[in-house]
Amino acid sequence: MLIVKDLKVEVEGKSILKGLTMEVGAGEVHAIMGPNGSGKSTLSHVLSGREGYEVVGGSITLDGEDLLALSPEERAWKGLFLGFQYPVAIPGLNSSVFMREAVNAQRRSRGENEYDAMDFLAIAREKMKLLKMDESFMTRAVNDGFSGGEKKRNEIYQMALLEPRLAILDEIDSGLDIDALRVVSDGINKLRSADRSLIMVTHYQRLLDYVVPDYVHVLSGGEIVRSGGRELALELESSGYGWLEKEPAAV
């Protein structure tokens, strides 16, 4: 489904990703782990089309289609979702208005009927239950004054509403206490399905106790230096990232 080949990315002339290759099949859950500054968010942003990153080599295709040729919204319409590491606040913009527009924009792109306010309300309520969110959330502005936990829950709630085919969750676990982590992980697990692929970007293996991945990749020095199954994450936990520096990364 998603194929990333020899991806090379620069930010302000500085080389960040130096030939990253990975493949994600339908329904698979991949974890990408790596120390801070290794380029995890860079990868997430490049996949979703954020400006400011220069792709200087390689390719990204989703079901054979060149993702790099599409705008961020077009990628969203294709079913790509990014759960942000730092969700941004939009003061004054009502969360429900925002999400209804997002859902309807995606439905329009597929030639489907738009939801009216009542339809949307019913669906939104159902998804909020999934994330144990309070109804009052609907009247608040997008991420405005949200706690760290609320922001992350909100990201997964949005994912639940948008029903993406490929979701990239960038450090969805950071800043969560154990209870919030459980709620968020439960939400993610309920959204797992045979036709939805997941890329979970994380610094800590803790999240992977709750959302168990099929594959684990270690990102270091702008490349994937090791890939394996669930056990690789546990190994990382006991040995830390220190060993990465001692092993010369294959060029």
Binding site: E73, I90, L93, V97, E101, A105, D116
Partner: protein, 482 residues
């Protein structure tokens, strides 16, 4: 990042929609201003002697005044002798007597603007007075309003039919010598709306005036006077558009509001005069004096304005809080783009005890535009327990525009409280990307962010205008769930 700003540029530089010219026969004075012109305007309107004298006095005062230069706006000197001071659509009689007499082209113009002049506007519950260039061409629902004693007519008519009210209130809020442009207006004003709400009456519908400048090289000087007698309520809407012309055109209006004991006036404006083209050519110079007097106890005056047009806006709707426990409010959104300049804000002058005022100002600048908030809060000695809260927020779109805040505070009363908050923010790439990642296209995303920023003001607008305003800002998110 370049592409993102380009898209923003494209969005914010959309064309002006109301820029058509209506081809109808006009009766226009030659350019120039001296005493004979003032006399001629008065004669044209067949005014009673007291009005002519009032105008002549204003003219004398104006001649001794200088153009104000303190505002944060820049423009070449205006040659007041190159402007024509009167223009009206030529009708068979001097003035249309009913809608049936109105030039069909003119009706079409209002139709194009989406302004319902026909009686079917009843459905919308709005009574409309339409002012085309300098003359009021049609006022709807006069009869229905008359049943409850509400007077809603052109000021030129009120001068004849209700001279005692005009004599008593005209110039009582904005005196002749108040400022350069208001003095000019008093000398040459041609028409405008007059409203009187009798004691205890809640006006049964929204009242509304639509101003349209059409003629070339013509100044528009309308004057509006609204009096809400004891315990009465009225909500008044004002809209404005103009054709696209390469020359700058002058608009110098005066609005006076008087609220007696327990009366409430809500005055809403959507100002969409032609702003000039994207290189800053043409556009309206909008120099307006708007002031309300909360003359009675517990009276309340609210100004809500959405300013998107004009090359230059110079406007400070104000409230003089004379009565004890009176309330003054100012809610404003001013959007400037390309080379537009706005210097706008409010003045709240507290005289009455426990008088309260609120100022919420939202300035949005894009392109190379300049947007300034200028506000004065004055607490006079004796205004025991008076309070003001001021909040000024500026939003910048792109990096070539400017926002400025000039709050002035004068407190002579030790028990008075003044609170001021100000913020400046930029539509961030991160906000736009967040929206786009969710599938919301850039143009819509900008609209949503801007709309969110203006929310506290938009909720103050009457329904009739809220829709127009959202369209104006290119927004389509009505019927919110929350």
């Amino acid at each position: 990042m370049a592409t993102e700003s380009e898209e923003i540029d494209r969005y914010i530089s959309r064309e002006y929609e109301h820029g058509f010219v209506t081809d109808i026969e006009q009766d226009t004075f030659p350019p120039g201003l001296d005493e004979s012109v003032v006399r001629a305007i008065s004669a044209k309107k067949n005014e009673p002697e007291f009005m002519l004298e009032w105008r002549l006095e204003a003219f004398k005062i104006w001649q001794q005044m200088d153009v104000p230069e303190w505002a944060h706006v820049h423009y070449p000197d205006i040659d007041f002798n190159s402007i024509s001071y009167f223009s009206s659509p030529k009708a068979d009689s001097d003035k249309p007597q009913s809608l049936a007499d109105v030039d069909p082209e003119l009706l079409e113009t209002y139709e194009k603007l989406g302004i319902p002049l026909h009686e079917r506007a009843a459905l919308a519950g709005v009574a409309v007075d339409a002012v085309f260039d300098s003359v009021s061409v049609a006022t709807t629902f006069k009869d229905k309003l008359a049943e409850v004693g509400v007077i809603f007519c052109p000021l030129s008519e009120a001068v004849h039919d209700h001279p005692e009210l005009v004599k008593k209130y005209l110039g009582s809020v904005v005196p002749l010598a108040d400022n350069f442009y208001s003095a000019l207006n008093a000398a040459v004003f041609s028409d405008g709306s007059f409203v009187y709400i009798p004691k205890g009456v809640r006006c049964p519908m929204e009242l509304s005036t639509y101003f349209r400048i059409n003629a070339l090289n013509t100044g528009q000087f309308e004057r509006t006077l609204i009096i809400a007698d004891e315990g009465s309520h009225v909500s008044y809407l004002e809209g404005c558009t103009a054709p696209m012309r390469d020359e700058n055109q002058l608009h110098a209006a005066v609005v006076e509001l008087v609220a007696m004991d327990d009366a409430q006036i809500k005055y809403s404006t959507v100002q969409n005069w032609y702003p000039g083209d994207k290189d800053g050519k043409g556009g309206i110079y909008n120099f307006v004096t708007k002031r309300g007097d909360c003359r009675g106890e517990r009276s309340k005056i609210s100004w809500t304005q959405v300013e998107t047009g004009s090359a230059i806006t110079w406007k400070y709707p104000s409230v003089v809080l004379t009565g004890d426990n009176s309330v003054g409010e100012f809610y404003s959104v001013a959007l400037t783009n390309n080379y537009q300049q706005a210097d706008t804000g409010s003045k709240m002058v507290h005289i009455g005890k426990n008088s309260r005022s609120t100022i919420i100002s939202k300035g949005i600048s894009a392109g190379k535009a300049e947007n300034a908030y200028r506000g004065l809060v004055k607490m006079l000695r004796g205004a025991n327990g008076a309070r003001n809260y001021t909040q000024c927020d500026s939003l910048l779109i792109g990096s070539q525009c400017g926002a400025h805040t000039f709050p002035y505070v004068e407190v002579q009363e030790p028990t008075a409280q003044v609170e001021h908050e100000a913020t400046t923010s930029k539509i961030g790439d991160d906000q736009l990307f967040y929206c786009r990642q969710r599938g919301i296209a850039e143009e819509e995303a900008v609209s949503m962010i801007v709309n969110g920023f203006c929310k506290e003001v938009f909720t103050e607008l009457p329904m009739e205008f809220a829709v127009e305003v959202q369209r104006l800002l290119g927004v389509s998110l009505e019927g919110s769930v929350g």
